[in-house]
């Protein structure tokens, strides 16, 4: 270590190469993190290396990967930001070197119990956010040089990008799985109702769109279309809760406005930051009547045989989560044989720089009172075509069976 200044330029270049190695990127993110820690420990001739990642909701750093210090991960060590060695690095966003390791400087007893004498740590930064801490430790007293700090920061930057892509991927996989599990796998078959649906996740991150179709004990049919603001796993989780709550209230009340008012009150109390649009319709058992309530959601498009679609005239209601005690109204619409009703989320109709009026008009032209599968296919072809949608798209088409004379 003493001669590290002139140790040789070659060694140093080899060290840098070791942590920025392109081959590392070919490993999976998890393997890459483990390999990176191993190399970091080796080139810095340290005894331990560990990565702690920030858990934003709790404000704690959680031990996630380690080399020579596996117990830290296995015991689920947590350090609050701002406290102890790792907490200080995260709070100050700069490297910290400790040559005095005991309970006064380090919160995690594993570190001093193990006999670590010197610690050096740097923040993991993604963009402008601190997402964790990388630290190495030595069982013998030593001085870490400026070059050592720089090398560690280089490794931390590499780790930060691996972690980001890992969490992004995990969130996306979880959100897609959650979404899939919550969408009805088969639409209920009830007498005169013919149903079809489409769900297309948006590019990049999955959002909080959902639809639900269920029969009620009364023989009525409930049709839900909803969209939670935001995207990714967080929105998908809220969507799941809203879907369950709405189903529960649907059993308790046959009035769609009452159901949405209860849902709104529940969300404002338990999920105060959430915002969502919902359309909830209840069809009579004979399917000749629909009672519907909208909460900030686009109204359905309705078409009768031989006629173009029109946007249903339904008074708008406020989004769920916007303000307490929003007034909720029910609109009753007569459903004639052969009539089709299309429910959808904003992803189907909103496009950058295209006025919403134009897109809604396009949708109305695309909706025909034909079998729902045919209708869904035509709507998706007309409004989506070959483009990769940025936002989620959900679409449910319900047709009342035509009388025998009609096709």
């Amino acid at each position: 270590m003493m001669q590290s200044d002139q140790g040789s330029l070659e060694d140093r270049l080899r060290d840098i190469q070791s942590v920025t190695d392109a081959a590392l990127s070919q490993l999976s993110d998890q393997e890459m993190l483990a390999e990176l820690l191993e190399r970091t420990r080796s080139i810095l001739r340290a005894d331990t290396a560990a990565v702690l990642l920030l858990d934003s909701p709790s404000g704690q750093l959680i031990a996630t990967a380690a080399a020579g210090l596996e117990e830290e991960v296995r015991q689920g060590v947590r350090v609050p930001v701002g406290r102890g060695f790792a907490g200080r690095i995260a709070a100050e966003r700069k490297p910290v070197i400790l040559d005095h390791v005991d309970h006064t400087t380090v919160l995690n007893p594993i570190l001093w119990a193990k006999g670590i004498r010197t610690l050096m740590g740097v923040p993991l930064i993604a963009g402008t956010r601190v997402i964790g801490v990388l630290h190495v430790g030595s069982l013998t007293p030593r001085e870490f040089s400026t070059e050592d700090v720089e090398l560690l920061q280089l490794a931390a930057d590499k780790a930060a990008s691996a972690v980001q892509s890992l969490t992004g991927l995990e969130d996306r996989i979880a959100a897609v799985a959650l979404q899939r599990s919550l969408l009805p796998s088969a639409l209920p078959l009830t007498g005169d109702a013919q149903l079809a649906a489409r769900y297309v996740p948006g590019e990049g991150s999955v959002g909080g769109d959902w639809y639900d179709v269920f029969t009620l004990p009364s023989g009525e049919l409930g049709v839900v279309m909803g969209d939670v603001t935001g995207s990714g796993l967080a929105a998908a989780v809220i969507m799941g809760r809203m879907r369950s709550a709405l189903r529960a209230y649907a059993l308790e009340s046959s009035d769609p406005a009452d159901v949405l008012a209860r849902l709104d009150a529940k969300m404002q109390h338990f999920e105060p930051g959430a915002l969502a649009t919902v359309s909830y319709a209840v069809f009579s058992p004979a399917l000749d009547r629909m009672r519907i309530c909208l909460a900030g959601h686009y109204p359905p498009v309705i078409a009768t045989p031989g006629q173009p679609g029109t946007l249903a005239e339904i008074p708008p209601g406020l989004l769920i989560g916007a303000a307490p005690d929003a007034s909720r109204r029910v609109t009753t619409i007569t459903v004639s044989p052969g009539m089709i009703l299309c429910f959808y989320t904003d992803g189907l109709v909103e496009r950058r720089r295209v006025p919403i009026e134009d897109r809604l008009a396009l949708l109305c032209r695309a909706v025909r009172a034909v079998p729902p599968e045919t209708a869904c296919a035509a709507i998706m072809a007309e409004l989506v075509g070959a483009e990769q949608p940025r936002d989620d798209i959900a679409l449910v088409a319900l047709r009342r069976k035509p009388t025998d004379r009609e096709p």
């Binding site: 603001t229 915002l275 708008p316 406020l318 989004l319 916007a322 303000a323 007034s327 909103e350 940025r390």
Partner: protein, 113 residues
């Protein structure tokens, strides 16, 4: 979409925040931050000036609602100026939360004194 300067323009106790020509998921965060900065100063009236806004989607609507919710209980009255994006504000129920004026002058006249 070019950057837009969100300035809070004060007309006595009334704050006016001018919104960009287009608001969608790519820039709604800035719109929300600007509106929250304005409500944080507890104006008597917050006028969201969308007179130059020709396009607004659900993300823009959410930005407005979040600022409205943030100001709940502070006494700030909201008004919104628009002619071109009124449809989405009607459809999403925003129009129930705050009066919509056709011009900034009309919004200012309605909140005189």
């Amino acid at each position: 979409m070019s950057a837009h300067d969100y300035l809070i323009e004060w007309r006595g106790p009334r704050a006016v925040v001018r919104m960009p020509a287009e608001i969608d998921v790519t820039n709604a965060d800035q719109a929300r931050a600007a509106l929250l900065a304005a409500t944080g100063q507890r104006p008597a009236v917050l006028i969201i000036d969308m007179s130059e806004t020709t396009f607004c989607d659900s993300a823009g609507v959410a930005a407005i609602v979040v600022s409205y919710r943030q100001a709940a209980g502070t006494g700030t009255q909201f008004r919104l100026v628009t002619t071109k994006v009124e449809r989405i504000l009607q459809l999403t129920g925003i129009a129930e939360l705050m009066p919509i004026d056709a011009s900034l002058d009309a919004a200012l006249a309605a909140t005189e004194g």
